[in-house]
């Protein structure tokens, strides 16, 4: 009896020890444990005693570090936070410190960058004529530093630095040399699309030049989602801090608003881009649990909302009224659904069998597609009546782009649920589609003004 207990204890310890490895999940431990026990049973049957059988079985299974490394290579996403599989524990604190220094330095540089134009007489937020300059260059103040952060971190080769610099230089030339009129439609479209275009270019640095690799792109998607959460949190905190500062300075009769709006807000917003990225790289375990929670929370809510909307539309017989903002509203809906889908994909264990949540996800997608199809139909009628304008074309293009992505995602989801395709097909479809978004964003930024004559 005592012998049995000691064997169970030892297997328990072995399991604990294995569980500590990030790349080895509990299902894997269970599978390995079954192997270990089968091996022990066989060895016992051959006449070994419990101690010997346990030792031999563990030895045969292989040394746990090597084993964990094999799992890590196979499941890069499980330890993507460690970034390099072979990272040594002793040198990691040094790397962390170096990264922190680099991140803070680059954040300060980004914060300073947005104040540099002031030296040349361009002020923020007054006068409003200069606002246009800041708006169109907004992404160029922070994103190059973000790219540099990753280029340094991933030790990008020199040719990589060149390729990385090309899109940023091109963006700077496009927005500053083309004769945009302030507040023109094409100008505002460029302001919206340029950050997206450049954000996708940062993927090149993030992937250390290996941007064609599916895993790297998926990691970048994951990074983007988590960065967004961090940035929102920092913005909330920053907003609270600014509000309080304003309040207490007012109490002693000083007006802090000018300093806050002119310095703290722009510098903070730029610096937070880098700091957010650095936090994602180093403090993931908090967020890692947040992305799935957010998905689980909002997927059912949005599905319910869309279902009610469809029912209400059928019940009342009201069609969609085509107003100016309708197309943009439906674009946002699709972006949101795609965002939820991407969050769900990136947080999901690609090995897990189809579950109830997958059905829900598919339902959400189907509803969104249905609603969007109705909207598109209404909008197409309107465009054929009034012709194309920059805004309508941009919104329509994006809508079609998202529609294609989501329709095929839904098809792959159905195939996955029917057990006819592995989940990775869906992941690969999403990462393979990323360049399409980049191309479209660049197209709207750089060619729309020319096509629509800077309207």
């Amino acid at each position: 009896m005592t012998n049995k207990e000691t064997l169970e204890e030892r297997i328990g310890q072995w399991r604990q020890y294995l569980r500590r490895r990030q790349a080895v999940h509990s299902a894997d431990v269970e599978e390995l444990e079954d192997h270990l026990r089968s091996q022990i049973d066989t060895l016992r049957g051959a006449g070994l005693d419990e101690d010997e059988a346990f030792l031999v079985a563990v030895k045969r299974l292989g040394d746990l570090d090597t084993l964990a490394r094999e799992y890590a290579i196979e499941y890069s996403e499980r330890i993507w936070k460690q970034l390099v599989v072979s990272a040594r524990s002793d040198s990691s604190s040094l790397t962390n410190q170096r990264d922190a220094t680099v991140a803070v330095g680059l954040a300060i540089a980004a914060a300073a960058a947005i104040k540099i134009p002031e030296l040349f007489g361009l002020h923020f937020p007054e006068p409003s004529a200069d606002e246009w300059f800041y708006l169109r260059n907004l992404s160029l103040f922070a994103l190059p530093f973000l790219a540099v952060f990753f280029a340094l971190k991933r030790r990008l080769p020199r040719s990589g630095w060149f390729w990385l610099a090309v899109p940023f230089a091109a963006a700077g030339l496009v927005v500053n040399l083309l004769p945009f009129k302030p507040d023109s439609h094409t100008g505002m479209l460029a302001v919206i699309h340029l950050p997206i275009a450049l954000w996708l270019m940062v993927c090149y640095a993030y992937a250390g030049g290996r941007w064609r690799r599916h895993e790297q792109r998926m990691n970048y998607v994951r990074f983007s989602g988590e960065w967004f959460i961090y940035y929102t949190l920092i913005a909330l905190g920053g907003g609270t801090l600014m509000g309080l500062t304003n309040f207490i300075f007012e109490a002693i009769g000083l007006d802090a608003e000018r300093a806050l709006v002119g310095w703290v807000l722009p510098c903070g917003a730029m610096g937070a881009v880098i700091i957010g990225a650095w936090l994602v790289e180093h403090k993931q375990s908090v967020i890692e649990n947040m992305a799935p929670v957010l998905t689980w929370l909002f997927t059912p809510l949005f599905t319910a909302l869309l279902l009610i909307f469809v029912v209400a539309m059928i019940w009342t017989g009201n069609g969609i009224k085509v107003e100016r903002e309708v197309l943009i509203g439906f674009d946002l809906l699709l972006v949101l659904v795609l965002g939820l889908l991407l969050y769900a994909i990136s947080a999901r264990d690609s090995q897990a069998p189809p579950g109830r949540f997958d059905v829900l996800q598919l339902l959400l997608e189907t509803c969104a597609l249905l609603v969007d199809a109705l909207a598109l139909w209404a909008i197409a009628a309107r465009i054929s009546e009034f012709g194309f304008s920059p805004n309508k074309t941009a919104a329509l293009g994006l809508n079609l782009l998202l529609l294609v992505n989501l329709v095929w995602s839904a098809v792959l989801y159905v195939r996955f649920l029917a057990g006819r395709a592995p989940f990775t097909r869906l992941e690969r479809w999403q990462t393979a589609y990323m360049p399409a978004f980049a191309v479209w964003a660049w197209f709207v930024t750089a060619l729309f003004p020319v096509i629509f004559n800077y309207r």
């Binding site: 444990e33 079954d34 091996q39 045969r60 299974l61 090597t66 499941y75 592995p422 990775t424």
Partner: protein, 117 residues
């Protein structure tokens, strides 16, 4: 005999797929089968089989499902998919070419008068 690491690595996937082609199986039984087939000469570190199985599962060559062992423990079974069978077929043809070439040269190495096939 100590078989070269690269050779073990190269043959591992087709060997596992071929074993699964005989019918669904699980990790420990696969290891045992490898031992039987090679007369105990081909020894893997047992644990290494699992990352390999997971990789072929992820690539859709095999599918996995959880069942129970005789003792009632959870046990993960693997089964060859159609894509896996096709992949195995291609692999077999490639190995046959390699095998044939090797046989030819071994014969000459042993008996220089023999002609290559």
């Amino acid at each position: 005999m100590n078989i070269d690491k690269d050779l073990v690595a190269a043959s591992a996937t087709p060997l596992v797929l071929a074993i699964l082609n005989e019918g669904e199986s699980y990790g420990y039984a696969i290891i045992k089968r490898v031992g039987e087939l090679s007369g105990g000469e081909l020894q893997w570190t047992d644990g290494m089989l699992y990352p390999l199985l997971h990789r072929v599962e992820r690539n859709g060559l095999v599918e996995a499902f959880w069942g129970r062992s005789e003792a009632g423990r959870g046990r993960k079974y693997y089964r060859l998919t159609r894509a896996g069978a096709e992949h195995l077929d291609r692999q077999r043809r490639q190995w046959q070419v390699v095998d044939q070439a090797m046989r030819g040269i071994w014969r000459i190495a042993v008996d220089p008068a023999a002609q290559p096939i």
